[in-house]
Symmetry: C2
Subunit: 331 residues, 2 copies
């Protein structure tokens, strides 16, 4: 089995690749080749005799995408995207990468069949986002609530979902779109994303550093761990998609937690001294942005399809601590 | 005021142009020029000293669209589309006209502002369709039900709605998308559209000809008259759009009627002998297609915004008869 990961150098993409290398197979099929594509080269550690091809390039370049698909990967994980904040500032770049990139990928897949009279119909796992939803929305957003994004990023993801469904319906691809919750705890350095503090208030205190909390304790949000995200991708890559019918994009299950609950979980796992590193500095701008984000979902369709969320927020924190320990050992 | 109508040779486009020419103004503003664009030249009768520019061309050609917009129309009515049946058969053509056409139009508008540092921000009225919804759906579809189209045409219209909302949110255009019900009674000859019989069973009997009814009498559908459609366009062209916030596409009000109710209205207006021209010939293929179509809506947002539907189905039939009389007089 040949697997193509587009966006393999990102946090989730690299973790997915590592997991596939460790497992040596996807579902019951042995993996022969992992083709890891991104704007920068992903660094992967070979394992299980799997051939690794890393490549840096532009996902919005038609010829590049055609070449990636000409190798006829059995499964394509499409994770590449300009993130929300950048897509909002760089309007043309956002549409070029996030909309045209996805369209070219679908077209390249379709044209293999059309031009070669070939039965090529790969599995395509597309990472979408809860940014396809925009306020006002109900406290719990259900599976039939409409997409009214309030960012260009959310618009581009919603368009990707529509294209994926239509290309699947026409039989060109076997597609599934998975809307990831906000991923917490992201490893690494703090970034300037408006959502960054959700990870920061856990990650920094655990590393003995102060972290700023810019919103109030009663803010509620929808989160999943990096491991849960990889679990979603693997399940999406192996499950029978026919059961989804024509509706090929699903909101992934997550935990709906308040900041206060996150802090109490941190206290329970790591104690008061760690929690003392959280410094409350209200930022009205960030608070206003976060106010427009979904707080909770009813993810019945995804649960029926076998996707599972983290058990609780303490488990997310413990998994992060274990990951950090492993990282230190590898150094 | 300069008005651009893209799709001016179609049934609704020509009727809109005729109405604007007759009125001489849109809202309180006098119309100076109507630029009527379509794939074929529209034939319009001058009136009220309005300058008419007719032009035939390709709406999916970037340079053509740029040229149309370079003249900086104050209002653009975008009605051009490959219809549902054709978009389903001609996949590439459908995406080229219905998706790329709308995208190029929005880009051309944006780039006038970007390149010239110009405050150009025209009103854009985009005709969408209830085809953005796909079964299964509730008996009455509300304003927050999600778009899950089951045709490429519906997908392309849903993408147009998303782009329109994002370009509006970013301040490049002042856009509104209006989802038209099925238009009944369409004048002219029968066509092969799956929805054709909704008009045919009224139009042909009134003209003394037989018409085939391929579905059962209890089929329910969402319809509006050609005059109501023009009314929607005029209201969308003049109303204050700020009240819509970020959600710029609305399902237009219509009548939810069963075939049996349509036939009883025809009997009441024109008598038993006319109704006798309706021949029941069940067509399982058409019945299956129609089964996937929306039957009824709750159009609260559109009604609050001042859009109004036809009063009842008898009024639709009487308006059709009056139109036909006028047409005969003009010959």
């Amino acid at each position: 089995m040949r697997i193509l990961i587009i966006g393999a150098a990102g946090m989730v993409g690299r973790r997915l690749a590592d997991r596939l290398l460790t497992d040596g197979k996807l579902g019951s099929e042995a993996i022969k080749t992992i083709h890891a594509f991104d704007v920068v080269e992903a660094s992967l550690t070979p394992a299980n005799g799997i051939q690794i091809e890393t490549e840096a390039g532009d996902v919005a370049d038609e010829k590049t995408v055609e070449r990636l698909i000409a190798q006829k990967p059995d499964i394509i994980f499409h994770l590449a995207a300009i993130v929300s904040g950048e897509a909002e500032l760089a309007f043309e770049k956002g549409y070029r990468i996030n909309m045209n990139g996805s369209r070219h990928l679908l077209e390249a897949i379709r044209l293999v069949g059309e031009n070669r009279n070939d039965a090529y119909r790969p599995r395509l796992v597309f990472t979408s986002s809860i940014a396809v939803f925009g306020a006002p929305f109900p406290e719990k957003i259900d599976d039939e609530f409409f997409r009214a994004p309030l960012t260009s990023y959310g618009t581009q993801k919603a368009i990707g979902e529509l294209l994926l469904a239509d290309y699947t319906r026409k039989g060109f691809v076997d597609g599934i779109g998975i809307r990831l919750p906000t991923i917490v705890v992201r490893p690494g350095k703090p970034n300037k994303a408006a959502s960054g503090f959700f990870s920061g208030i856990i990650r920094e205190p655990l590393a003995g550093q102060d972290a700023v909390l810019p919103v109030s304790d009663d803010v509620r949000h929808w989160v999943a761990s990096p491991n849960a995200a990889v679990g979603f991708l693997l399940h999406a890559g192996t499950m029978d998609l026919a059961q989804l019918g024509a509706r090929r994009s699903l909101t992934m299950p997550g935990l709906s937690v308040t900041i206060a609950e996150m802090i109490e979980a941190l206290r329970s796992v790591a104690g008061d001294q760690v929690v003392a590193h959280i410094k409350r500095e209200h930022d009205p701008q960030i608070a206003a942005i976060v106010d427009g984000w979904p707080r909770d979902f009813r993810t019945e369709r995804a649960e029926q399809a076998g996707f599972t969320a983290d058990s609780d927020f303490e488990a997310i924190i413990r998994a992060h601590i274990a990951d950090e320990e492993k990282r230190k050992t590898l150094r």
